[in-house]
């Protein structure tokens, strides 16, 4: 049974077509990357899949729930890490985790254990009692990553997972996502960093103007055809126009969809 299935999903904002007949399927245990340029519809896709936005057309299923009719149930089962969202300014990370644990109905002892685990793993234990507004962007991102995983969901949606993180923490998060998927869970991430998708995803879907236009398994690619080539061939332009190292922008930069 697929973790995520969509069929013919459409979403418009006024005259702007954000999603246009989007059809995709993500199996359980996949680390699926949705790759696309700015404004391609990546963030809208995540918002629709997690019941935050209602699509105008189409069918959606996430972990056997329908986010259009039971959004709260869908979000109970999944974790969501939106792009560029900060934890509440006037909470400390410890209090924010208490809040998330309360909303998700986690036992306080289990919550404390998981917080210790994630804090240790991402390395921000000395910041647990600092107000979030006084944390750096990178530290805030660590808090948001922890919050998304606290209830150990089967499926996590992540928008630009490495935004604002230093190279060491980026590497830790990459490893963490890989281990998480190896344990049988599913990750759906959206990014416009080709090298991120190439390095950590088990399958990549390329989206442009709200449509899924290509899919690739990065391990099937070789020197003849890189993910950048596939991307450029489908989105338009020459690979050399993109940049020398295949970045749409500096690694880890946060950009809106």
């Amino acid at each position: 049974m697929a973790a995520i299935e969509t069929e013919g999903v459409g979403k418009t904002y006024g005259d702007l077509v954000a999603l246009d007949d989007l059809t995709l399927s993500v199996e359980r245990g996949e680390l699926f990357g949705l790759l696309g340029p700015n404004g391609a519809g990546k963030s809208t896709t995540i918002a629709v899949l997690t019941g935050q936005l209602l699509p105008d057309a189409g069918r959606v299923s996430v972990l056997d729930t329908d986010p259009t009719t039971e959004p709260v149930e869908t979000r109970r089962r999944v974790g969501v890490l939106p792009e560029q969202e900060s934890p509440p300014s006037f909470f400390t990370p410890r209090e924010y985790f208490d809040f998330v644990g309360t909303v998700r109905g986690l036992d306080s002892e289990i919550l404390a254990r998981r917080v210790d685990h994630w804090v240790d793993r991402l390395g921000f234990d000395e910041k647990l009692d600092t107000l979030c507004t006084d944390l750096s962007r990178g530290q805030q991102q660590k808090v948001m990553i922890t919050a998304a995983f606290l209830h150990e969901p089967e499926l996590v949606f992540i928008d630009e997972p490495l935004a604002n993180l230093d190279p060491i923490v980026q590497e830790r998060v990459r490893r963490l996502l890989a281990e998480y998927v190896e344990a049988g869970n599913t990750v759906f991430l959206s990014t416009h960093h080709i090298e991120v998708a190439e390095a950590i995803c088990t399958r990549v879907g390329i989206v442009n103007e709200g449509r899924l236009i290509a899919e690739r398994d990065p391990t099937d690619l070789d020197a003849e055809e890189s993910l950048l080539d596939v991307f450029m061939a489908n989105v338009g332009g020459e690979a050399g126009d993109w940049s020398d190292d295949g970045h749409a922008s500096p690694v880890g930069g946060a950009h809106s969809d």
Partner: protein, 482 residues
């Protein structure tokens, strides 16, 4: 670019024009260009309507002008709060925006010079967009009702503009003096000191442009406008352009508050903690209520002075303190947005429910606390005071329901949306004008009028609850449509 360079090569003028354009675009983008363009016309129409209504029910034009100055001063205080408590407040209010006033971090521009230009821009922008239509409207109605007011129009405009700038600068100076955490406390203490001075017989309005308006002359001009440069210099001197602050830590209080409040989903606790931890703490709610209390006291005093009739303490304070609903709800929604809850397994209705409970815990005691203070200070027949208390609760609930219905989670933003603001102003007038006329013009009140006041309060309270209930599904659907 040094300060001197900015002045020498005309950059100051260009930054000023840029800031004006920025302010206009910010508002136009938030509220739709054409709609926002109509805002001055709308302000003039509402001001003319209100002035005509007050004048035709016996309120003298000088009393209306006095009230106008009081309201403009409060508006200035509020504008200063938004502009100068820093980038966090701007971001909380408008999202992640970068304004020219903050560009000293990335450009070689003097931060103090930028702030000075920002202040000048605020004065010019609001003097043209807001204060000119207000002044013209009041003057026009005064002329229509038989007062030879036209020669005083430039004086009125100058005076309300000065009053607005004074309000902005009071906040600016106190923000610098008080420091972030104690700003609201400092403002509250300052207000109390002024009130004490006032009660000893000194007329503080002689140190404002209103004093000059009342008695035009060189001496009154000096006394009335002198506080403006004094506060500007003081504000600049204590302004911290580096915005340095130590990293703040706090003990974990969420769980303890949640348990004490018996708050199963933690949303009520979050709302209250947000207010308590942000700049000014819970004091800012008290201060907002205090400003309205002071304005009401001023209006009651002016009306009594000009007409010789003592307004009903219960009804006048009950009706006007109900307006604290708007500021209280504003504080409760200032630090989050619907988006911040949408990734959690929470229905939007639960978030609104939490806001309502937080409003009852924060807004109700604030309004009733000041009401009790007014009752203790000015006294009145017990029946009137009881009726006024019930009226205050009714008005609070009505304005809460109305604000939620029209603005959802963003009560502050719709102040500049002409259509929404018109709807809000119309609905507020519908609820308040009848009881204000009763309280200010028909006092002392007989049993029939008292029963009417209580009945009207009940109608408003029920209407507010109904508006709130009906608006939750509306906003839930709207947020999901995107």
């Amino acid at each position: 670019m040094s300060s001197n360079a900015m002045g020498a090569n005309g950059v100051t003028r260009r930054v000023f024009v840029g800031m004006l354009r920025e302010e206009w675009r910010l508002h136009a983008r938030l509220f739709g260009g054409a709609r926002f363009g109509a805002f001055p016309l709308f302000v003039a129409a509402v001001a003319a309507g209100a002035t005509w209504l007050l004048a035709s029910t016996g309120t003298a034009i000088p009393a209306i002008v006095a009230g106008l100055h009081a309201l403009v001063f409060v508006f200035g205080l509020h504008t200063g709060t938004i502009g100068f408590v820093g980038r966090d407040a701007i971001r909380n209010l408008l999202g992640d925006v970068t304004l020219l006033v903050f560009t000293s971090r990335t450009l070689p521009a003097s931060p103090r010079r930028l702030v000075a230009i920002f202040l000048a821009k605020d004065a010019v922008y609001y003097a043209g967009l807001f204060l000119a239509p207000l002044s013209v409207a009041v003057a026009a109605v005064a002329v229509v009702t038989g007062t030879d007011f036209l020669p005083r129009l430039p004086l009125l405009w100058l005076s309300v503009t000065g009053t607005f700038v004074l309000g902005v600068l009071v906040t600016f100076a106190l923000v610098g003096l008080g420091g972030r955490r104690s700003t609201a406390a400092a403002l509250a203490v300052g207000g109390l000191l002024l009130a004490a001075w006032w009660s000893s017989g000194f007329d503080p309005t002689s140190l404002t442009p209103y004093g000059f308006y009342r008695t035009p002359g060189l001496a009154t001009a000096l006394a009335g406008f002198l506080p403006i440069p004094v506060l500007a210099v003081l504000g600049m001197a204590v302004y911290d352009p580096t915005d340095r602050r130590p990293s703040r830590t706090s003990e974990a209080r969420f769980a303890a508050w949640r348990d004490r409040l018996r708050d199963d989903d933690g949303l009520l606790t979050k709302s209250l903690l947000d207010v308590a931890r942000s700049s000014g703490g819970l004091w800012k709610v008290v201060f907002s209520g205090g400003v309205l209390f002071a304005v009401t006291a001023f209006l009651v005093g002016v009306v009594e002075q000009l007409t010789g009739v003592s307004p009903s303490t219960g009804v006048s304070f009950g009706a006007l303190l109900g307006l604290t609903a708007f500021t209280s709800y504003n504080w409760l929604t200032q630090f989050d947005s619907p988006d911040s809850y949408r990734r959690l397994p929470l229905p939007t209705a639960a978030v609104f429910r939490a806001k309502f409970r937080a409003f009852l815990l924060l807004g109700l005691p604030t309004a009733l606390g000041y009401y009790a203070l007014a009752a203790a200070w000015l006294g009145g027949p017990p029946a009137e005071l009881a009726a006024g208390g019930l009226l205050a609760v009714g008005v609070l609930l009505y304005l809460f329901g109305l604000t939620v219905a029209l603005a959802g989670f963003e009560p502050n933003e719709f102040l500049f949306d002409t259509v929404l603001f018109a709807a809000f102003a119309g609905a507020v007038s519908l609820g308040l004008v009848p009881v204000l006329i009763v309280g200010f013009v028909l006092a002392p009140l007989g049993p029939a009028l008292l029963a009417g006041v209580v009945g009207w309060g009940a109608v408003l309270g029920v209407a507010g609850l109904l508006l709130y209930r009906r608006s939750v599904p509306k906003w839930t659907a709207r947020y999901r449509r995107g």
